[in-house]
Amino acid sequence: MNKVQNNKAWFLVLPVFLLVAFSAVIPLMTVVNYSVQDIFDQNNAYFVGLEWYQEVLSDPRLQDSLARQFLYSGTVLLIEVPLGICVALMMPTRGWTASLSLIVLALPLLIPWNVVGTIWQIFARSDIGLLGYVINGLGIDYNYTSNPVDAWITVLLMDVWHWTSLIALLCYSGLRAIPDAYYQAARIDRASSWAIFRFIQLPKLQGVLIIGVLLRFMDSFMIYTEPFVLTGGGPGNSTTFLSQTLTKMAIGQFDIGPAAAFSIIYFLIVLLVSWLFFTTITHLDKDKVKEQSHD
């Protein structure tokens, strides 16, 4: 669409700008401010430059939770994206079953995050939970509060339960937007269902998948409440992710300087990875368009 050049449009954007500036810029500047000072009390603060950054970057606690965080987000994306696409392909397209499956799928998305943790706690505990009871009944020793592997599996399963629906719903709406003519053409060509998926459905899903992968990456990278309720970060530190390490540092130990430096690094990592995702995906897209125009 060709847009008109008009700087008066700034007046329409101004409320958003002021609102977000108030709740984003001021706090962010506060964090930056803390991250370069050593603060003893109201009147005693010293400029320490990048000292906190160096300290935090060489802190094994941060390195460990960062590694765990990447492993976690990576695994979550690898499971949820293909599973979400599969679920979207299986969803009924018309009638009351379509509405029903939409409602069922959207359900986990609208449950408060700590309740998600509670639900899985009640469901997976080996003494009162159905899942824990059944697994132990099958003769497999399972206890997520004492075994790190079990804890990981439980947290991952919870995340899959919680968020696969988002990918599925995004893909479902992407699939609905494909005109029937495409499928008719495929039927005339006697395309296999794999070919239909690969050459018709998947390319059309690209737009929503970019959004889905970005949202899932960002949210899984910031995960806090669900594992906090479910495992409390344990056993040991095995399910302590970045946000929890950070809140422990800022509120538990009140190490404001290092916590602020940590915050800035954390934010920059999310920004950087999101930007990398976004540019690689859109570049791939451009290359493809170029290739096609050469043919």
């Binding site: 669409m1 060709n2 847009k3 008109v4 008009n6 700087n7 449009a9 954007v13 409320p15 958003v16 700008f17 609102l19 977000v20 108030f22 709740s23 984003a24 001021i26 706090p27 962010l28 803390y34 299986m90 009924p92 397209t93 939409l102 409602i103 959207a106 359900l107 986990p108 998305l109 609208l110 449950i111 995050w113 700590n114 309740v115 509670t118 639900i119 899985w120 009640i122 469901f123 009162i128 159905l130 009871y133 719903l169 995004l170 479902y172 709406s173 992407g174 937007a177 929503v208 910031m222 806090y224 970045l242 950070l246 800022a250 404001i256 916590a259 915050s263 800035i264 934010f267 999310v270």
Partner: protein
Amino acid sequence: MTRSKRIGIISYSAFVLLPIYWLINMSFKSNEEITGGLSLWPQQFTFANYQVIFTDPSWYNGYFNSVYYVVLNSFITLVVALPAAYAFSRYKFVGDKHLFFWLLTNRMAPPAVFLLPFFQLYSSVGLFDTHIAVALAHCLFSVPLAVWILEGFMSAVPREIDETAYIDGYSFGHFFIRLFLPLISSGIGVTVFFSFMFSWVELLLARTLTSVNAKPIAAIMTRTIGASGVDWGVLAAAGVLTIIPGILVIYFVRNHVAKGFALGRV
């Protein structure tokens, strides 16, 4: 629809519903029964857990607090995001792309990062422990997403409609509210769905910015964990009650969801 597809979707739905069923099952049991042994439905059906919540103001006020700031958040989000999205979809102006990207970066800020500064900021302006503080804090996540979604929907409406309206002599306000908004009603529905979703489910900021008067239900739930162990029955009942508003919202927007989840840009 083929049979394997039907089996697939039914088994996935079962996977989604099973933990929720277990929560509901627990909420109708007494604590003795919960810890006593496993049963697939309550042997001694009881409403006692729900009674605890409905008779204690410090419990049920938590629900009112949560609903109050979520509604407030959705309202503020819509009011500021609608004109901004219109500007982004219709006009080019100095710094538009940067502004749009900057808005989106706020969606990428981990809430844990903003915990302490938010607390100090809202305390210093006297908003601590008010509903508006939580609503404003949640705007940080809901506004960028809302602008993004609405911009997609608005760009799908042809420009000619705006121009025709101006030629016919409509003022901007009249055109925008009476003619334009109805055209993007499903976009508005989806925006409300998303702002509701991210505000209703968020706990970290909501808990930090409140102490008594505006405390959300999710934070009140932690009191079931006491010295004598966990009050599983009441915890489950409180959990069940937090799911209900979500179901209502999905029910109202179900016809827009299929179109709307594509965020208008397929």
